[in-house]
Amino acid sequence: MGTAYTPPEADWWRAPIERTEIWWIVLAFAWCVFMFVWMIGWHFVGPQNMSNETYRTTVEAYAAKVDAMTAKYAIRKDEATGEDVVAPPPGSDVYLAAMQWQFRPILELKKGEKYRLHISSYDVGHGFSLQPENINFQVYPGYEQVTTVTPNKTGIFAIACGEYCGGSGAIGHHSMLGRIYVKE
């Protein structure tokens, strides 16, 4: 008389819908609408949102900006790596570069201040993964994304690479790191 693998009765589209299904559809649809509205609403009331600001760039143009900022705001050499630690002033444009297989320069930011953080890649696709905050973005060559970040905790934050980017042996995607210090 009826299964899922035999043709339905001739007037199947006229059969009434049973109450179990009606209630569930109403409830599920209401939740769907809520989630849709909430996702839009968080853009207006929530403090954590994806930036919509992205520019086309080239590796050379972006590297020039990173180097200029580093030259201007370097404050010391990192003890472990000998690399520059850069402390750009609050409110300024901060340029971070992802490359095989590191994030540079090392940054020092102040808690509670806003920074315009630019991110791009010098070679292949990478992922910006800030730990332990666990904030994750994709990073590509040719695209410069600007996110306004406001660190709300002090401490030492690591940037791990969130997208497989090649490498071999001990050096590669799995050894790619960067660092951000946040001070009072």
Partner: protein, 569 residues
């Protein structure tokens, strides 16, 4: 048009299905190839699992990335798409009682997919194509890596058209009356999505192949991702539709159940056709260069209309089982129908575990992680493999395994060898897959990266130490990954033992026990009005409310967590 004779068909005496012998052979070969690839991909997966255990770290980074690329492609694409070809031919030919259209093209599908898969496998094993299954440029694989994928996809596309052609033949030769059966309508839905998927794959893989041989100078990495995911994500939507069709099929086979409402179930499939592909945006939520308006519209499938469809199927499948059981006399209490279900029958237990695992693990997390903002705190962490093992392994693979226990007697005409192993298999496989998924998602929430050979960052001056609990979750999860592998191997052993050494079932004798349609039983016994509270399936409604409460709670827990991180705008 070729004429068919009686001997081209045999009849399954239990279901009354008229089985076209050529179609049956094609179903057998595609299903067999699928199971072999499940084994191959599973072994690579085992290598991945043993490397991602911080206390074991079996493979070197180079071997790890190679194994991960192979595992992703073989299990995500080859095993599943071969099995889906078997399912599509079964739905069009066996279910409609029709000869299969253009068997030569169907064989072309099989061989092209096999050759394509072999080319990809060779490229990956040569070691210079460890670019992960996603192969994002500017990382470059060997040309035969892309070419193999293209050949595989062309094969699958041919299979889709053989399916559609068979529907035309069945209609023209009047092998069925009225509308298509619901499961075949599900097959149509899967095919529409598959054609979209495979055309998207061709659109991006053909230029990428040309780039790999030097004929195109540049592939934009963002453009690649947008189009690639129209292929990569949509291919997973084919799985969802295929395994939901299998849920409906098994509910009817084991319980004689009838869809609660054809209108509702078909409407839900229609929502899939219209909105499911927008979900490709899930992978692009943390990408630069796409606006939030674009992301929100697409990630939410307009207004979560594909989520609505999944929630509907999630209720109507167990609901139809409940109604059938109640009509057969189990009309007391809320859950008598479920308690008295045949839990020792792997066809049923596998299907029901697939339903629960897909809903509670894959579904709940999928809905939450695809919120534009939440995605920032899970993107590309271990949360992702955790989630999609919940959908693809606990959901799709479990459902495909469950229906295989029915296909072996009906299509292969063999009795299940090792029934004791088969009886336990869904439980072991699901236990492994469920705990694996949940532990991986826990580790991902704590920041552990996916596709990463060494989470200890050994020897790195800027090393970051993950919390101990994250490492513990990775160890525990991968132990359950090994249990999942044991479950998969049990399945493969049962299948191979059955089709090669299982007792042959003679033509005309019943390959599986007859189950009466619940409708027929109800008409005979007068059990017409079932259920309580004015609902025919109150127990299922309660189960659905538990799912609903889980989603709502989990949704707000994640927003709470999001609200504590750095300000981002």
């Amino acid at each position: 048009m070729t004429s068919t004779s009686i001997s081209d068909f045999r009849v399954d005496p239990v279901s009354g299905l008229k089985i076209h012998r050529t179609a049956n052979t094609l179903v057998k070969w595609n299903a067999f190839a699928a199971v072999v690839f499940l084994l191959v991909g599973g072994l690579f997966g085992l290598g991945v699992a043993l490397t991602r255990m911080p206390s074991v770290q079996l493979l070197s980074p180079d071997l790890f990335y190679m194994a991960l690329t192979a595992h992703g492609l073989v299990n995500l694409a080859v095993w599943i798409i071969f099995f889906e070809m078997a399912v599509l031919y079964f739905l069009a030919s066996h279910v409609l009682g029709s000869r299969i259209a253009t068997p030569r093209w169907a064989w072309a599908q099989f061989w092209l997919m096999l050759v394509g898969a072999a080319m990809v496998a060779v490229a990956v094993l040569q070691g210079n194509s460890s670019v992960m299954m996603t192969s994002y440029p500017p990382l470059q694989a060997a040309p035969h890596f892309y070419l193999g994928l293209i050949v595989f996809a062309v094969g699958a596309l041919i299979g889709c058209f053989v399916f559609l052609g068979t529907l035309v033949v069945a209609k023209r030769e009047n092998t069925y009356q009225g509308s298509l059966p619901l499961v075949v309508f599900g097959g149509v839905t899967a095919t529409v999505i598959a054609v979209f998927t495979l055309v998207s794959g061709a659109m991006i893989l053909i230029p990428t192949f040309l780039w790999s041989v030097g004929l195109i100078s540049y592939i934009d990495p963002m453009m690649y991702r947008v189009i690639w995911w129209a292929f990569g994500h949509s291919s997973q939507q084919i799985n969802v539709v295929a395994h939901i069709s299998i849920w409906y099929l098994i509910a009817s086979l084991v319980f004689g159940a009838k869809p609660m409402s054809e209108k509702v179930s078909r409407g839900a499939f229609l929502l899939y056709i219209l909105f499911l592909q927008l979900g490709s945006a899930h992978h692009l939520l943390s990408d630069p260069g796409l606006t939030s308006a674009w992301k929100i519209f697409n990630t939410s499938y307009a207004i979560y209309l594909a989520v609505l469809a999944s929630m509907i199927h999630g209720l109507t499948v167990p609901g139809s089982i409940e109604v059938a059981q109640r009509r057969k006399g189990m009309n007391t209490g809320l859950f008598t129908w479920l308690r008295k279900a045949p839990w020792g029958n792997p066809i049923f237990s596998g299907m029901f575990l697939s339903l629960v695992g897909f809903g509670f693990i894959g579904g709940v997390t999928g809905v939450v992680m695809s919120v534009e903002q939440i995605n920032m705190v899970i993107h590309n962490t271990m949360y992702l493999p955790g989630h999609f093992h919940g959908t693809l392994v606990a959901g799709t693979t479990m459902a495909f395994m469950a229906v295989t226990y029915w296909l072996i007697p009906v299509v292969f005409q063999r009795k299940i060898a090792l029934p004791g192993v088969a009886k336990l298999q869904p439980y072991i496989f699901s236990l492994g897959a469920w705990v694996f998924s949940i532990a991986m998602m826990g580790a991902g929430t704590l920041g552990v990266q996916r596709r990463h050979a060494d989470i200890t960052f050994a020897g790195q001056p800027l090393a970051y130490e993950y919390p101990e609990i994250a490492k513990g979750l990775m160890d525990m999860g991968e132990i359950f990954g090994i249990i999942m592998s044991v479950g998969a191997i049990m399945f493969i052993v049962v299948v191979l033992a059955s089709i090669f050494t299982g007792e042959r079932i003679e033509e005309g004798s019943a390959p599986w026990p007859k189950v009466e349609d619940a409708d027929v039983v109800a008409a005979r016994t007068g059990n017409k009005h079932v259920g309580m509270w004015g609902m025919e399936a109150p127990g299922t409604f309660i189960l659905a409310m538990i799912l609903f409460a889980t989603i709502v709670l989990y949704y707000f827990v994640n927003f709470k967590y999001l609200s504590t991180i750095w300000g981002l705008s």
